[in-house]
Homo-oligomer: 296 residues x 2
């Protein structure tokens, strides 16, 4: 701990595990919020902290509004830029509701992110137009795996939500990303931007030195958790009940698909063909005597 006040704290992660640091930091923010109404803990020298929405769900379970974000390896270009200047910087927001799941909205401020491109590569899905920008300022299209390699080598970059240029609001995703970049470094004297490559001068692996922030706001310090949950649920239900596009069965709210998938996973986790092949390859490499159920 570098500094602590009633509502705030600055934590040095000493390059430890992001998930452990994140859990500790959001717990502190919630504790402060329960006591003083609000709490904010900022972290420096951490690593990838896993699922950002997990931390906001800690807050919503405790009856708090939750916010979190983290910087990341620079892979996203600003508006009018073609080089990765900041990370996929999620701006993650949670609100307690009276539904079976709270509102936990966890997304990168870029249109897509590296993990999704890896998934697209596995399943052979092509890039959506405008999600990756090349050095010519135009959209990189086609094979997701090839695009990933180009992003890794600095020959292409992800685009902020709103896409390339200003016409469809690319500067909005860019602005949200910058806010996350600031809150991940400026209050805690942390690293940012191009320093977050995870590589040293000689190309050797070094700690990422990421920064995160965690905010909790206690609903009981306003008009109460019950009211908050009820009204948030009412808003969600009203939005869901509005007119759907022809062919659209449902209007979802944040966390809804994830909640249903979670329930469905009790029956088992589907493994796609590409991953099945990797399982088989590892088994064969190790010469193990085992047959996977999916080999039938």
């Amino acid at each position: 701990m570098i500094k602590e006040t009633e509502t705030t704290a600055v934590v040095d992660g000493h390059d430890g595990m992001g998930q452990v640091i994140g859990h500790k930091a959001m717990s502190m923010a919630i504790e402060k919020a329960k006591k003083y109404g609000m709490g904010m803990v900022v972290v420096r020298n951490s690593c990838h902290y896993g699922i950002a929405g997990y931390y906001t769900s800690m807050a919503t379970k405790a009856g708090c509004i939750g916010m979190t974000g983290t910087n990341a390896r620079p892979t996203v270009a600003p508006t009018f830029g073609v080089e990765g200047a900041f990370g996929t910087n999620p701006l993650t927001l949670g609100v307690p509701t009276d539904e079976a799941f709270d509102f936990n909205f966890d997304c990168a401020t870029s249109i897509t992110q590296n993990g999704k491109l890896e998934y697209y590569e596995r399943i052979g899905h092509e890039l959506a137009d405008g999600t990756v920008v090349g050095p010519d300022g135009k959209a990189v299209t086609g094979d997701a795996g090839a695009a990933l390699k180009r992003i890794g080598s600095g020959d292409a970059a992800l685009t902020p939500v709103g896409g390339i240029g200003e016409e469809l609001g690319g500067y909005k995703g860019y602005g949200f990303a910058m806010f996350v970049e600031f809150l991940s470094a400026v209050l805690q004297d942390g690293h940012y931007g191009k320093a977050l490559t995870g590589k040293g001068a000689g190309g050797e692996k070094v700690p990422f030195g990421l920064g995160h922030f965690f905010i909790a706001i206690d609903t009981e310090h306003f008009l109460g958790e019950d009211l908050c949950r009820k009204k948030a649920g009412d808003i969600i239900r009203e939005v869901r009940s509005t007119k759907k596009a022809p062919g659209a069965e449902r209007i979802y709210t944040a966390g809804e698909k994830e909640y249903e998938i979670r329930l469905a996973r009790h029956a088992g986790v589907p493994i796609n063909e590409s991953v099945q092949k990797e399982f088989i390859a590892v088994r064969d490499e190790l010469g193990l005597d085992y047959k996977f159920p999916f080999e039938d």
Copy 2:
């Protein structure tokens, strides 16, 4: 005042002027932040509060991180929806910097908004593809004035940042808009969504009953205002210095264009042809003996 704690307050605006209520509320949030580290004031029963970025700039001038948002007349459709379910709900964020202007990022969570469509109508600019959705779930294109009328009558809706559907991240703009919708109503027991039309059951004008929220976070309760300003400036300068798209002269950061326009306006405010005609029409209607400089 309905309720107040060290860091929080709930204010009823009694349908007064949004700008006055907003100024008071952000001033309270800043005062709380200076004392306790953080402050959040939520408002109900207010009206249009003007430029959201003005309130975050109050915070940044005081050495605080600032956040604000407001709900608005329902004109924006959720992902897979075609009906206005919530407003253009700006999520507005401010960070103090050591540049000539602070980072004040003020934008609607929809791609575009009604005021911009009115401007497009004046200058004869067509709609960008995907900014407005029709009842068929497809983009409304062409004349901005015609689209505005359809939005007003409920026959079309604005789209969230990321556009129609999920492919380019439309659910991200939708998620940010929902967060603003929640914070504008659930902590202060305010109105939301379809209740915010400004019209009564018989079509008569009634107060809008809008809700807002204002958050201030004092940098001195972390590692200090000087460090925050310096690092935020460093981040901005690094981003600006990254590789530009061919033909792009500069990479801007939030508030930069507005700052330069403000300086340029000391030499005079340009008035476009459409507004010139309105000026002339008003003069002629009133029979005034005056010649405008732009009539030369």
